[in-house]
Point group: C2
Chain length 523, copies 2
């Protein structure tokens, strides 16, 4: 396997010499029909409004070959050490099913290990949902509260919210789910004060079992349970853990049950492991979580395709690098036309920015090109009444990633002035893509739209569990391919360490650091 | 009054010649002590970690003088037409109190008009909260639901969430508040299905009274009330409107009551008008809303100070232009260390990007410099476990705007390992500022932090109603001053129009536009 920086690639030099396609001029019905790739979960990726033409696509294909993207993905799937800084395998795809060979590490078949945890989650969630495991005062559990932060919060929360309407529309029995993440005590209190502890199960999620925020919030919860004065309640019978086998949480007698992940599942890639699986299975039932896994697994398999015009996440990744490194565009907006995806952009923000926000390559050499972009976004149509002004008429070009679905989740819709809300929603989505691409001339420059503002579109039939899994895996694989393109280690996060060290110094009285002390004194 | 482009200013040429201060080297306890400005609501703005020194500050002061920032603000307060494209006055500051002269327009004293609406809101909310106005089936109102989008949603929602914990800690009687914004029918259904219509009051918020999303969602609600089969329920007695006097909603017999705003309050600046005032007064009582107004009014008065070292929003604005136009940094992150401010970044995203995301000046001339930045953000410490990786070690510099408070809202906190959660929260905040500024050398480049990543800090004693009003006005005034610096009209939003026109064409069957049709066919 050859690891090389992007700017040493022949294909990148070639790509850099090519002018972007003017979407304003080139956009045509033919292009919309042909610049489209079907992927898993009944999703389709359309890139007709991206500034690429067949010549650029050929260069991108060459770049994919030269950077050995599919070979690297294959090695990753087969258990090579793709997180070199931490000397770890990268196995989140394996949590949803085996794509290629068995992966053996530390004398264990890792696929079998993840499967065994899934089987335990299936059984445990069934018992909780059926009431064969009860709370310590004999009542059935009605509410689950996930205590976790970062990857133990954003992904699971986004997925939970994404499926609520769809599960409701299918009359699926639901346990209510809530989340505590921030060390801000108001975050915990806001959740705690509405709880009936007798019917609540807390899920402590921390791979290391040492995350400051999570342990602190656990202690806040235990204190609140103690103070509740409920006779006979035993906090330890209302807590389960998702952690690694060697963590302090795993061996603790203070939890009812523990489910395991390992070091080969990065936090931001852990939604399809026990980290997301336990809460989704408790809230909606294991079958629903299994459908998420199926959608993701399907996309993982399709991502092995070498022809970039048939590989949605690979094409998305390559176009992203063209935007970032040839057109020098530093940001990307995620715009789901689905209120159920309200927190999905926040998850993708972590996934992308924590994976590829790096200034050195996988060998620790300083890079002289831009890496991961800044990711932000809010659902449409809401954003249209907010920050889209800048997207349309600001001085910077922001590439856009639209997401939409033919059908709503609840299906509760009416005709108003001849169209349903869902039709209005998608009419707006389509209109925005075209408005951004083509712009509008106007003698009044204040009403003029330059156009040539680039976007792609991921569409599905409906946001169901399988489509959601596919959507998640699409972006995970996109980010992985981009990491390979930039020659990064996308699977570590050394950038979070310094703050932790300095925070400890503050809590220890700053240890002679006057500047820390001066800032503390402002409070 | 002289309106000129930023790049024609002598002071800007001077400023552009100055190298940024190396925060990494210059940061000192003296600087932290002196680069600080007290403002309203007991807030303090500290800019010690911004790349400015006394020479740059002098240039910024000159720029403030040359662009007549305080004079323009004075004119705005006194009722000059500061939204020239729409030939409108800009009077959102007047909704919280009169700072300077009477403003007379259309034969009416506008301050008196806004006051009269406040008095009506005070009386109406008292009657609802006391139960002297009941629902159509004789029950007391317990829940209020705001139906609005953009400025009628993001600001009011952010403020409502921001005060929930504080009001709860003070045992203030609360009506539960919910929001419906998106035309996605799942957004309405998710709220509607949990409602007891007999005890719910809907607030329809649309200045024009013609907003597609809002009218559609109103109709969805009315349909759901009809279908509920509740005997004797009359939907019109469960709806009030916030709109302009001439709008279709105002004269409608289908609402219980209507409160008025006018064209001089832009949507994104309307949180302190009836748009935010009705829901906050219903949920928490008018007194709480009045304290928000007081905090904002206090800051509005202080923003008249000509010495930039004593004017927090002015300094913030000027430093922002230095970052954007001299250092060419295109984004800014808003990082509140307060879970209560979870949706405040989304509001500021609209406020800033819709106001200053413009490519022409107030006279419609194309600009050759960058204007409003891209704004995004999430609460800390959550973000530390997410996108901060890129902020610390990515290839782009993102200026940061931290917000923090000495005390939590609920005050429900415990010692864990010797410190409270609130102390941990603020220890992290301080540690991040210093980590970003000073970085860290490490022989392992993957663990190296370049430093010189800029931030400012807004801190207060506690996020109470007055502090919240002050915080809101600080950013509104910052954005206003930046608009003056860039010579923009910050108060129109022509960029949202084209999408609306094209969406209508889609709903009308695309009217021969094949490209629209081709995209529609993807669904």
């Amino acid at each position: 396997m050859k690891f090389q920086n992007l700017d040493t690639c022949t294909a990148f030099a070639q790509l850099s010499s090519l002018s972007p396609c003017s979407v304003k001029e080139a956009l045509s019905t033919e292009r919309i029909g042909s610049y489209t790739i079907h992927t898993g979960g009944d999703l389709t990726y359309n890139y007709a409004s991206m500034p690429v033409d067949n010549e650029i696509i050929q260069s991108l294909q060459q770049l994919s070959i030269e950077q050995q993207l599919i070979e690297k993905y294959t090695e990753l799937l087969n258990g090579e050490i793709m997180n070199p800084g931490e000397k770890r395998l990268v196995l989140h795809q394996l949590t949803r099913g085996q794509v290629l060979h068995d992966v053996i590490a530390e004398g264990e078949n890792k696929g079998a290990f993840y499967q065994s945890q899934l089987a335990r989650i299936q059984e445990f969630s069934k018992q909780i949902r059926e009431g064969s495991i009860l709370g310590s005062t004999g009542k059935r559990f009605k509410t689950v509260v996930q205590i976790g932060i970062g990857g133990s919060d954003l992904g699971p929360r986004a997925l939970y919210l994404a499926l609520k309407g769809w599960c409701t529309s299918k009359d699926i029995v639901q346990l209510d789910a809530k989340f505590i993440s921030n060390v801000d005590p108001d975050d915990a209190e806001e959740v705690i004060r509405g709880l009936d502890f007798e019917t609540t199960l807390f899920i402590l999620v921390s791979k290391s079992g040492t995350t400051l925020e999570t342990l602190t919030n656990r202690d806040l919860v235990i204190e609140a349970i103690k103070k509740s004065g409920i006779e006979g309640i035993d906090a330890s019978k209302h807590m389960i853990a998702v952690t690694s086998k060697t963590s302090p949480l795993a061996s603790s007698s203070s939890v009812l049950e523990a489910f395991f992940i390992d070091d080969y599942i990065g936090g931001r890639y852990s939604s399809t492991s026990a980290v997301g699986g336990v809460i989704l299975s408790l809230a909606y039932g294991y079958d629903i979580f299994d459908q998420v896994l199926q959608g993701a697994h399907e996309v993982d398999g399709l991502a092995l395709e070498k022809d970039i015009t048939k590989n949605a996440s690979l094409m998305d990744a390559l176009i992203g690098v063209y935007l970032r490194n040839v057109l020098n565009l530093p940001t990307t907006a995620i715009l789901p036309y689905s209120q159920a995806l309200s927190r999905f952009p926040a998850h993708l923000q972590q996934l992308d920015m924590e994976s590829n926000g790096k200034h050195v390559n996988r060998d620790g050499e300083l890079l002289e090109y831009a890496t991961g972009p800044i990711i932000f976004g809010e659902p449409g149509t809401n954003g249209q009444h907010s920050f889209y002004q800048l997207l349309h008429q600001g001085t910077d070009t922001v590439p856009l990633q639209f997401i939409g679905f033919s059908n709503s989740q609840y299906g509760k819709d009416i005709l108003v002035e001849g169209s349903t809300s869902q039709t209005k929603l998608n009419a707006n989505l389509v209109a925005q893509i075209v408005a951004f691409a083509r712009g509008k001339d106007d003698p009044n420059t204040n009403k003029q739209f330059e156009g040539n503002r680039y976007s792609s579109l991921l569409i599905g039939k409906q946001l169901d569990a399988r489509a959601l899994g596919a959507l998640l895996a699409h972006f995970e694989n996109k980010v992985m391919f981009q990491g390979f393109l930039w020659n990064l280690n996308s699977f570590d996060q050394e950038g979070v360490q310094l703050g932790k060290v300095l925070a400890s110094k503050v809590l220890d009285g700053c240890q002679g650091d006057e500047i820390l002390k001066a800032y503390v004194d402002l409070f």
